[in-house]
Symmetry: C2
Subunit: 315 residues, 2 copies
């Protein structure tokens, strides 16, 4: 019995690429040549470096299509890729997608993933400029983001010095809460504008995006900088109504806020004397909170329930 | 019973990334920042565009580890990615890898894939600058190549005009013959130097690399250029001893040479009046053969056995 739902196999590799290419709206002026040739061509300005980052999402591991729509999964993939550019202070130039897919995947699922990623990336003036489709027993989506950053305006993980303040944009824990609830409807936006403002104003000594979770990413930043940190869990900003929602779900709010991940906020360090969180909020045009201090070594978390902190502080 | 062979799961995602990063020798002067931050940073020269291309290989579809070593499979992945840069006339700046892998994959297999890709890319002065490791039931390797090309020196698929000669570097069919024999030991090298010579000398009106097979890729070039072509199959260059080897395997030599794929030679068009194949061989420092002529429309192949030609000329 033939299925009424068209599959990826029904239109073939080239048919799918053609349909994806139609979704790839041209946004931003950085594209000299988009989908359709052997490579895409992107324009940089004088004095800029190209920034490149690759992320993969695998079905059943990084997304579950019974808990989120293909559009949301595709948007999450784009957010993860663009967030890496934000963390470097780069402006996005283009995104390539590599889809591996079973032939029986509904065509609408493959297109939905791409609609989601194209829509999120378009909000940050980043076009889809190329890609690849390959048959595989496992559905996965690998995105590579290419951006540009002034060579003397780069944000890096290395650079934090003892005494620096630790700050973070926005709020943490919202993505983890949505996943814990089993329904992911909205995707955290990558902080591209904030990253460029930080880099342009030379406001940060080091920066990373919060993708693995605040504590894990703070660990990465400290390791790259050769320093330690002291964090005040009570000052970690959380979304409105977060504590109540965690109670309803029986979830540990500290765990979700400090180790949840996929927040796509920017975690950065700044000199002890410099614009305070209030002034930085104005410069970055978004909420900024001071949550701790860079130390010589070690990683200490104050103000979190010991059983929670010790339970997942495994690094 | 614990296995004596260490697996990817035994060292974890970060352990594998650390080991891959150690393989990633720094070659070429284009890397401002390599593996270890949120994005790699690459240096372009004034007047250059960034060229970006993504390719994925899936285990069981694009490679089979019972027929080739992980090193050969990794090298093939790198050749495919870099060949796309060659076809644009670009010089390579860096490569990112995204591995999806079952936890039980032997660690040596994951490292072998990366050793193979790093070694091939290093021969073309292209470093591995970043990547991603993700758990998946299916082993796959997605590579993104980033290069640079002078903005007025770009080779494109579009640009061929009726009357242009059709030329190709090297020989065709060797990769398909190796696959047909069930043993792939060597990998075709991408034609990066030839691509740059073609672009630098403005010698080609259009160009594509032969990855899908001569006829399929000629079809892509003609479609992008809005032209047709007439090909002389008897002039398509084949490796030494090719006919005899095909006979031993019972393989159709025309089929392997004209539709085999993964040759990674450059197929290009050049004005009717201009350097002949002999002169072009000297300019590109590699064999160049004239194999046909660009026509207004259609695709005609002369000199191939009709049953062979009709059997696979399905586009």
């Amino acid at each position: 019995v033939a299925s009424a739902v068209r599959s990826v196999a029904d239109v073939g590799e080239f048919g799918l690429i053609e349909r994806v290419a139609r979704l790839a709206r041209r946004v931003g002026g950085g594209v000299a040549l988009g989908i359709g040739d052997d490579a895409a061509l992107l324009r940089l300005r004088a004095g800029e470096l190209a920034a490149v980052s690759t992320d993969a999402l695998v079905d059943g591991v990084h997304f579950r299509l019974d808990q989120e729509t293909p559009r949301v999964a595709g948007a999450r993939a784009a957010a993860a890729a663009l967030s890496d550019l934000a963390a470097m202070g780069a402006r996005p130039l283009g995104l390539t997608s590599a889809l591996t897919t079973p032939g029986e995947l509904p065509l609408e699922t493959a297109l939905g993933l791409h609609r989601g990623l194209v829509a999120l990336a378009a909000r940050h003036a980043c076009p889809l400029v190329g890609g690849n489709v390959a048959r595989s027993p496992t559905l996965s989506l690998t995105l590579t983001a290419v951006g540009a950053v002034g060579r003397d305006r780069v944000l890096r993980r290395a650079g934090a010095r003892p005494g620096d303040r630790i700050l973070v944009t926005g709020t943490l824990g919202g993505s983890a809460l949505a996943r814990a609830s089993g329904r992911v409807r909205r995707v955290a936006e990558p902080r591209l504008a904030a990253g460029r403002a930080l880099a342009g104003g030379r406001l940060a000594t080091a920066c990373i995006d919060v993708s693995d979770g605040l504590l894990a990413d703070l660990g990465h930043l400290c390791e790259a900088s050769g320093v330690g940190a002291e964090l005040d869990a009570t000052r970690v900003p959380r979304p409105r109504g977060f504590a109540a929602a965690c109670r309803r779900l029986g979830a540990d709010p500290d765990r979700l806020a400090l180790a949840g991940g996929e927040d796509y906020e920017l975690l950065f360090t700044a000199p002890a004397r410099g614009p305070d969180a209030e002034a930085l909020s104005q410069r970055l045009r978004t909420r900024v909170s001071e949550i701790g201090t860079v130390r010589e070594r070690g990683l200490r978390v104050r103000g979190a329930a010991p059983q929670g902190a010790l339970g997942w502080l495994h690094f």
